[in-house]
Structures are given as structure tokens and as C-alpha cells.
């Protein structure tokens, strides 16, 4: 009966209840949309970073990680590549020779990192071949080919098919220069990478470095990220002389970014819930004040304080129960929609690319978010109902009835 009264009371002032219900719906919707948007952004950032830069797991000489000197090489790199490639759950593996270099043009000189790669393996891991936007990827038979980031080429005013000179330290510690022909320009979602990394072939670069089948870095891509820890342990046991690292160790900023995003969503959630709490308190307080006489009468005829308290509380929870499913449903549809079509950030895309994010964000969501939010809304309604309900039971029946 108390439930029945509570339910009917909600519809006594229809407009007011609908406003609150509407506010809760919009709140839930905005909340889920924002969460899914930031999840999507984090995911795209991580996926981008893993796909085009760091891969899932990397291996280096331990000393190379400390000093980044070219002399800390992995010998017999091709067989390492094959060993990695044939490890279970590894989709693709590649090895690279790395070196810091100066690139010079009429516009001046810049520091870059040379990644000397095996063309086929590299494209299997980082799909760098698909990011060539002008000219072409490495082809057989040509010597000293080089790929530059488009933004770097623009800044240095280097034209495609022109010849450029790179200066670097060779394995003997001598400064060497070598000429390369620009065969293509690439563009990733991260301009910082595009400005700083140039690609050449390992075969040619090892010659000018003065080494044989050497590399500084091995990178591999997994069939599925869920195998990360398994493969990591296997490789660690298999290559005790090399330092094996997962993307989490290589790029702690990924984790940082993730937690930053989570923090801002949490802050948003708190603000939103606070707004909802105050909205609910306000509405329910009005509902209580309007009914002072009636509440006094109920207490006079024997409705005890606990029941009055719960009646007010139920009214509030019911508002949440009506609004909750609608809000969650709408949010689900929206997320589903943008999960398919994506949200084109258009004007923002340049800024996004600075940070290595793609211009289209696909909203993603963990199913647990829905449960969490449903609970949050009920809690919010509960908290919002406490004050008005207390107000109601503090009424003394005589005073309530006497009031005009």
C-alpha cells in the first residue's frame, strides 16, 4: 500500500516528476556517452600506439636500453626473427637496426631516428606500408631507399625521389655519412612520430653501419592482447640474454593516459551525480512541503515515522527506476550507433594527431559500466531522498495539520 501511495504520489504533479525523470535520463545518457567516448579515445590511442609504434612486445640488448649506442647489437637477427615468428600466439615479428642520425637539407639539419627494417616483416607488424601517402614502399633491387614522414619532408622541404644525406655513428664509433633516395612519404596518426622517424632497409643500413645480420630491436605483434603475459614469460625464459618488455613497460604514458581519462570521467560523474542529488532533493522537498497537512494526518492516524520515511524514499527511487532504464537504453543505442559510424572530430583532428589519436573516435563501452551507473543512479536517488524524508518525519502532526 505504501508503494502504491508512493507510485500514485509521483503522478500527482506530473510535470515536476517528468522534469526530474527527464533530468535523470539526460544525466545517464550524457554520462554513458562521455564514458564511452573517452574509452573509445583511450582505446584508439593505445591501439594506435601499439599498432604503429611499439607493438605488443619488444626485445633489446639490455645495454642498448641504457645507452642507445649502436654497438649493443643483437647478433644473428634473422634467426631471432624466425624464432619469434614461430612462437605460439605471435602474429608477426620483425627486427630492426636503430640509429640516431642527422638529416640535412637546404632548410637545415634535424635529428631523426633511423629504423632500418626488413620490409615484409615490418609491414606485417606495424603496417607501415599502408601509411605511405606519396611515392611507394620499399621495392626490390633498389639501393639505399628511405621513407620520411610527410610532415618532416614538408618542414625540411625535401621532395620525393630526391637524394638526402644522413650522418650517424657506425659500429666502430666513427662518424659516417650515407646518401639515400626518398622513395615515399608516410603519415601516421601521430605527427611526433612522423617528424622523428625515418625508415630504411636493414640490409642496406647494416652495410653502412659496418655489421652483418645485426639488429637492435625486435618487435612482435600478438594474435590477441590477452596472450601478452603468456608470451612475455615464454620469451623471457627463451632469451635470457635479452631484455623482454611489454608495451606497458615500454610506454608507461599509455597507462598514465588511461588513468588520466578515468580520473576526468570520475570527476564528471561526481559532478553529474551531485547535480542530480540536488535536483532530487529540491523536487522531493517541494513534494513534502506541499503535503504537510496530509503527512500530518497520516501520522495522526497511525502511520509511523519509518513508514513515512520509506514512502518518501520509495517515491524518489521510483523516479529513478522509471528514468534509469530509459536513460540506459537511449545511451546504449547511441553508443552502439557511434560504435559503428564513429565520431569524426573534424576540426580537432590536427590537435588529436599531435597526441597520436585518430580523427574518428569509435565509442566503446564495458558492459559493467551500465551496471555501475544503474547502481550509481539508485544510490543518488537514495541519497537525494534522505533529507526530504527526514524533513517529513520531523513534522509534528498537530503543527502540520494546523498549518494553513
Amino acid at each position: 500500500m505504501i508503494l502504491k501511495i508512493a507510485w500514485r504520489n509521483i503522478w500527482r504533479s506530473r510535470t515536476r516528476s517528468l522534469v526530474v525523470i527527464g533530468a535523470i535520463i539526460v544525466g545517464i545518457w550524457a554520462e554513458i556517452f562521455l564514458m564511452s567516448f573517452s574509452e573509445g579515445m583511450v582505446k584508439s590511442y593505445i591501439d594506435n600506439a601499439i599498432q604503429s609504434e611499439i607493438s605488443h612486445i619488444q626485445l633489446h640488448q639490455p645495454d642498448f636500453l641504457k645507452d642507445k649506442e649502436v654497438k649493443y647489437v643483437i647478433d644473428d637477427a634473422s634467426s631471432l626473427q624466425q624464432a619469434l615468428q614461430s612462437t605460439a600466439h605471435v602474429k608477426a615479428a620483425t627486427v630492426r637496426s636503430l640509429s640516431n642520425a642527422m638529416i640535412a637539407s637546404a632548410k637545415g639539419a634535424r635529428g631523426v631516428q633511423i629504423k632500418a627494417v626488413d620490409p615484409a616483416n615490418e609491414s606485417a607488424v606495424t603496417r607501415i606500408d599502408t601509411k605511405v601517402v606519396e611515392g611507394e614502399y620499399f621495392s626490390e633491387g633498389k639501393k639505399n631507399q628511405i621513407l620520411l614522414g610527410r610532415s618532416l619532408a614538408e618542414k625540411m622541404n625535401i621532395k620525393i625521389r630526391s637524394k638526402i644525406v644522413l650522418t650517424f655513428t657506425n659500429l666502430n664509433g666513427d662518424i659516417t655519412a650515407a646518401a639515400f633516395r626518398v622513395v615515399g612519404l608516410y603519415e601516421t596518426d601521430n605527427t611526433m612520430v612522423d617528424d622523428a622517424v625515418v625508415y630504411t632497409t636493414r640490409q642496406d643500413f647494416n652495410k653502412v653501419l659496418g655489421g652483418g645480420d645485426i639488429a637492435h630491436e625486435a618487435a612482435l605483434f600478438l594474435e590477441d592482447p590477452e596472450y601478452l603475459d603468456t608470451v612475455f614469460s615464454v620469451l623471457q625464459a627463451q632469451f635470457p640474454n635479452l631484455k623482454v618488455e611489454t608495451y606497458k613497460q615500454i610506454s608507461p604514458e599509455i597507462a598514465l593516459f588511461d588513468s588520466q581519462m578515468q580520473l576526468s570521467t570520475t570527476i564528471f560523474t561526481v559532478i553529474l551525480m551531485l547535480a542530480l542529488v540536488f535536483g532530487i532533493i529540491n523536487t522531493m522537498l517541494m513534494a513534502v512541503l506541499e503535503r504537510i497537512k496530509e503527512l500530518g494526518m497520516l501520522m495522526a492516524v497511525g502511520m509511523n515515522k519509518a513508514r513515512v520515511f520509506f514512502m518518501i524514499m520509495f517515491e524518489t527511487i521510483m523516479l529513478g527506476l522509471v528514468a534509469g532504464p530509459i536513460g540506459l537504453g537511449l545511451a546504449y543505442l547511441t553508443v552502439l550507433y557511434f560504435n559503428h559510424t564513429g565520431i569524426d572530430l573534424g576540426n580537432w583532428s590536427e590537435a588529436m594527431r599531435q597526441f597520436g589519436m585518430s580523427r574518428v573516435v569509435y565509442t566503446t563501452i564495458r558492459p559493467s559500466m551500465f551496471t555501475e551507473l544503474a547502481i550509481a543512479v539508485i544510490l543518488t536517488a537514495l541519497i537525494g531522498s534522505i533529507y526530504p524524508a527526514l524533513k517529513a518525519i520531523r513534522l509534528r502532526p498537530v503543527e502540520a495539520i494546523r498549518r494553513i
Binding site: E294, M297, A300, V301, G302
Partner: protein
């Protein structure tokens, strides 16, 4: 023994600011089966007295004992429970829960008492018939006339089988025909079922129907007389 005994009730409103003495030493005894009117000029303390007898308000001094239980010392929540079992109220207005039908209003207190549903249904039907509203059971208060609402209120007050029914100017908002009608019902319930009614009123025709008339003046009992009701 079902009775109400008040000893020296005094009620002072706003004792700290501008004290108003609403009741000044009221000694009273009301027995089961009475049909008693409390009368007196406006401001003489009728409402205050009924509220204190019914445990809605506390006296500044003195005690109220209902059927052997002193209610003046009870805590709020205990008092609510006590009222639920022993006292029925009919107010001048705002008696009914607007979102419930006549039937549900009558049933309400019985529900609070956890009475079995068969008993509730039977008693609700009985009482609505008794107050002549058998055909209005599914109507909400807003669709009932003032007189009909007061009759539902009487049925509601009777439903939990209280020892006493206290009514503060139950007919003040009613026209003379509805007043007559309500009084007939109250008198019949009093006569046939021995239900005790204590009501305050200004209306001479209502006063004439009472068996006992207590007159308050300035918070004191001026006269307390038995009479043979007309009709």
C-alpha cells in the same frame, strides 16, 4: 475499562515569547459509549483539548490516561502506534489520502495494523455501507462532496476499531443536510455499536444531538451537562 481521564491539563503555547494559555487545568472523565460535544467560543481551547486527549499534542502540565495507559509520557513513535490502535480521528478537512480511493482510504489504517485481507475487505465494505457510500468505494476524494468525504473519514476512523473517536468540528465545512446526515450516522454507530464519539462544534443543531455537553471558556470547563438529545 475503556475511558479517558485527564488530570489538570494546562497548555501554554509559546511559553518563552508571548505565552498563550489555551487550557487551564482541565479535569475530565469520558466513559465508553459517550456521545459528547465540546463547545465554547472560538479560541476557548476545544481543538487544543482534543489534540491533547488524542495524543497529537502534549500538555504543559497534567496527564492524560487512556484506558489505563498514561499517554502524556509516551515518545512520538509509541504514540503513533498507540493512536493507530486506540483512537480514531476525524478532522475538519484533509482527512483523506488524495491518491487513494474511498475504499483504500478506509482500508489504510487496517493495513498499517496488518489485519488479514479478508477481514479488511469485509470491514471496509461494511463501513462504507454504514456511512451510505457503498456505491462510491472506487471514487477518489476529489470526486466526493465535502459531506461524502467526511463520511469516508468517519468510516476510516472506525475501521481500526478504536476505543474513541475524536472529531474536531467534523461538520464545519458541511451544509445542513450533510451535517444532519453525518450526525445520523454517528449517532447510529454510537447507539447500535457503542462507539464513543467526542466532537467539538459551534453548531447549535450538532450540540442538540449530544448526550453530554462540555463547555469550555478561556481554557477552563465552564459547564458539563448531560442532556436528552433531540430526535
Amino acid at each position: 475499562m475503556k475511558n479517558i481521564i485527564t488530570k489538570g491539563i494546562t497548555k501554554v503555547y509559546n511559553p518563552d515569547t508571548i505565552p498563550v494559555v489555551a487550557l487551564d487545568g482541565v479535569d475530565l472523565e469520558i466513559e465508553q459509549g459517550e456521545f459528547t460535544a465540546i463547545v465554547g467560543p472560538s479560541g476557548s481551547g476545544k481543538t487544543t483539548l482534543l489534540n491533547i486527549i488524542g495524543g497529537l499534542d502534549k500538555p504543559s502540565h497534567g496527564s492524560v490516561t487512556i484506558s489505563g495507559t498514561e499517554i502524556t509520557k509516551m515518545r512520538d513513535n509509541k504514540l503513533i502506534e498507540f493512536r493507530k490502535e486506540h483512537i480514531g480521528f476525524v478532522f475538519q478537512a484533509y482527512n483523506l489520502i488524495p491518491v487513494l480511493t474511498a475504499e483504500e482510504n478506509v482500508e489504510f489504517v487496517m493495513l498499517l495494523q496488518n489485519r488479514p485481507s479478508a477481514e479488511r475487505d469485509q470491514r471496509t465494505t461494511e463501513l462504507l455501507e454504514a456511512v451510505g457510500l457503498g456505491d462510491k468505494r472506487n471514487t477518489r476524494p476529489a470526486q466526493l462532496s465535502g459531506g461524502q468525504q467526511q463520511r469516508v473519514a468517519v468510516a476510516r476512523a472506525l475501521a481500526p476499531k478504536p476505543d474513541f473517536i475524536l472529531a474536531d468540528e467534523p461538520t464545519a465545512n458541511l451544509d445542513s443536510k450533510s451535517t444532519e446526515n453525518l450526525l445520523d450516522i454517528m449517532a447510529r454507530l454510537n447507539h447500535e455499536e457503542g462507539i464513543t464519539f467526542v466532537f467539538s462544534t459551534h453548531d447549535q443543531r450538532v450540540i442538540d444531538r449530544a448526550h453530554r455537553v462540555i463547555t469550555l471558556v478561556d481554557g477552563k470547563i465552564a459547564t458539563d451537562e448531560l442532556q436528552n438529545p433531540e430526535k
